[in-house]
């Protein structure tokens, strides 16, 4: 009889912190994040990859954590909604512009789908040139793959535009600070 492998050790960088865990091989990444690492911000809405509530970033790419086994992220980097904000020098928390924008634009109601939208949109915004004005096509692309049953999406799209504008302003401010001859700022 073949020995059935039911558990396996993985090492994964979660929100910038290297973590080790032994996980059942059948666990989904969402199980490992929620039940293994206690990161319950990642929500499971359908477990068949349609709603997008469980979206996290694997090596920076939006990924349905209900469609990936935990063992598949061995050796990779995972960012959850808890990892979108960063610490400032005073030990406080600086939210990602899309997080601020969600609050400012009333882009969430029950909040259950919100982490999936935030991770997806954050990845989209971070990957683009912030100095260029965001287009409606870009907004639709970032917002269009996730389900929300509360908001009707209008304010989520608004938040997306708002965050892009914030990032554009701060990119502008940064390049202004680095003037006169920094070509790095816009990159």
């Amino acid at each position: 009889m073949t020995e059935v492998c039911t558990e396996r050790a993985i090492s994964v960088v979660v929100n910038g912190v290297p973590r080790e865990a032994t996980v059942p091989v059948r666990w989904l990444l969402s199980d490992a994040l929620r039940h293994g690492f206690g990161l319950t911000g990642t929500h499971v809405g359908c477990e068949h990859g349609v709603c997008g509530a469980c979206t996290v970033l694997v090596d920076g790419q939006p990924t349905r954590s209900c469609l990936v086994l935990a063992v598949q992220v061995d050796g990779r980097e995972v960012t959850t909604v808890e990892g979108l904000s960063r610490s400032d020098h005073q030990g406080g928390q600086v939210l990602h512009p899309i997080q601020e924008a969600f609050r400012e634009c009333h882009a969430l109601q029950c909040g259950f789908c919100t982490p999936g939208f935030l991770t997806t949109i954050a990845a989209g915004l971070d990957a683009r040139d912030p100095s260029v004005e965001i287009t409606e096509e870009e907004v639709d692309d970032m917002v269009g793959g996730n389900l929300c049953r509360c908001t009707g999406y209008a304010n989520i799209k608004k938040a997306c535009r708002h965050a892009a504008a914030t990032m554009r302003d701060s990119a502008g401010a940064k390049s202004a600070t680095l003037a006169p001859d920094s070509q790095e700022a816009g990159r």
């Binding site: 809405g45 269009g144 009707g152």
Partner: protein
Amino acid sequence: MTTKLFGEPVRRREDARLIIGQGRYLDDIGSGAYEAAFVRSPYAHARVLDIDVSAAMDVEGLLAIYTYEDLTGPLAEPLPVLIPHPQLTSPRTGYPLVKDVAQHVGEPIVMVVATDRYIAEDAAGLIEISYEELPVVVGVDAAEAAEHTVHDDVPDNVAARHHQETGDVEAALAASAHTLSFTQYFERSASMPMEGKGVHARWDDADSSLRVYSSTQASTSVRAAIAAKLELSMEKVEVIAPDVGGGFGVKIVHPWPEELLVPMAARLLGHEVKWTEDRREHFISSAHERQQRQEITVGYDDDGRITALDVLVWHDNGAYTPYGIIVPINTATQLCGPYDIPVYRARVNSVYTNTVIVTPYRGAGRPQGTFAMERTMDRIAQERGIDRALVRERNLIQPDQFPYDWGLTFQDGRPLIYDSGDYPAMMAKLKVLVDWDGFAERRAAAEARGKLLGIGMAPYVEGTGPGPYEGAHVQVLGSGKVLVSTGLTSQGQGHETVFAQLAAAELGVPLEDVEVTTGDTRRFGYAVGTFASRAAVVSGNAVALAARGVKEKALRIAAEVLEADPADLEIDEGLVQVKGTPGASIPLRTVAVLSNPLRYAFDEAARQATQFSGPGDDSKPPVAVGDAPGLEHTDYYSPLRSTFASGAHAVVVEIDPATWEIAIEQYAVVHDCGTIINPMIVEGQVHGGVAQGVGGALYERMAYDRDGQLTNASFMDFLMPYASEVPDVDIDHQSTPSPLNELGIKGAGEAGVIPGSAAIASAIEDAVGRRIAAMPISPTELYDLVRSDAERVTNSSPHDSGAMA
């Protein structure tokens, strides 16, 4: 009110935790809990012959398996009929676990508890059940035919005949200049919140007490149900609704079997037990709504004014009637919307089918009623050659007709009396917003592009804020923090924010000082629940009243300290001060400290209230007779009857005659929910409602096959709108405050969804010139309809209508 908060688009208090992943939803609770899984009936109608659990017993990590035979006492009895009604003559409810006959696919038969969900499902998968299949009843037509029965002892499948009338409709129809009769269908959808249901229970053996978390809209009543079913004293049971990931009606039903079985298991096993519903379970075991067949006869005069309306509705209530006939009542009583209809009769026959139960989903019977009424208006307009807006305007209840008494009984058991509104102004705003009168040019421009453009409209009235009551407790702490609690629950509506706005505005404190708790029986035990757009109306007024009670006491205490008349005092930014006398003031937090005379000082602030801290009045006891220590107050608001919000939607659709894809070009909403506490939140509610209305009109349908199998029980197959399907919404507000409550609030939660199918059907019909008599409608169905011999229809435009009038 010195602090300007009421009516402001204040940013939500709840968002701070939700945007950083620190919400606390049901499945986030109890990481060490045992987990439950259920074996559910794979048949729509079947007798359970034998349950063989032997193969499951060897699964490592299995803790318990429960079947009906393990239920004792009240748990072995049928689940409660929550809302009895004299016309619900054959109410039926299931058991927590199937006793004998499963009545729909998904009904729970066995509960398995194991160390985790995977193992519980492993064991569940090894349980073998043998069944005797029974004939299946699906759809209202089959139920009415009653060739087969759902419940043996209900031979006609009719649970209830709900009839209401305002006069002799048959005589009025006979006397009408014109009559029309037609039949139409409305399909099933469901609330489908992003978070399904879930229950976590912790039994404290030493204390013989139970703490239950449930993703519910009615924690106080869940508590009462658990206490009754588990034979516990109420004070030994606490129920908390944590962050709830959407409700939209499905979570108002209770007790769900799992809300009883999970606590039962926790008690028997002496360990935390949790169950989190998965998406398939939600599709096949939680509630649906909306399926009806509507037979309508209307009488009207030459001008299109309705003289009599008679509707017979066959309403599919699914396998059981735990929530009574609230949905049929809503359809019957809200159908007429904003129209002045002289004689009206509604007969709703609520029938059993072997499908998931039907209980309120946002709108709760009103979308169907509005569909019936508005399609009737369109038909009258077409028959008489009158513009569709004009025929509606001619039938509107006028502002001077309020209060408008229908002579009917509403869903709260109180008289159906519209409190206030201005429907003509609302329709006028809508016509401007959508440019109704300029539509012909748009249509022509679209035709030049090879597209079919159509426009439709649908106004509605929504009974909101029903009683019996809600309450609130407001307390100022010595720290200055203000605690507000109400027993009513939240599922994303922003209650923490709007109730904080109300309390802060009444008390004169900064919003940041207010903390709101909802749906926690430890904090507030008396409540009804969140449904029928009632939170802002009923809990909102209760919070305001409770805060006012606190303010009165604060001013009384402060007046003694400041040696002033309470009438000369005001509270601003947390400071009680003599009006017009700067410097003569005392912080509210100090008043809170002084309100509680102390023997022991536990911190610096408390020193001020101790017995040697200052000269007191030795002639009086420290706490006056009839008074109580502490700066807090509990109050209740019990409305005389429901308030009536209103609105009107207009839709422009563009149809591609090559693919028959239906795109929404424009969606316009005029909305009147009385006084608005927070316009940002109200608009959010409208947006969300419209999205659900669009989903219900064009995409969502519970597709049962003839065997009672739900063939699209996943998000892959049941199509909920993504951002790409939901249009931008143009909103215009109107406010006719309710005269029934001091704040003038009417409630906004459900409104957005109500006229969606009616308005969209009207627009599609206008675009393609074929009668739309069933919703939802897909491109394929539209294609088939256009190619069929379906009735051709022509609408009059504003400029050529009225000629016949």
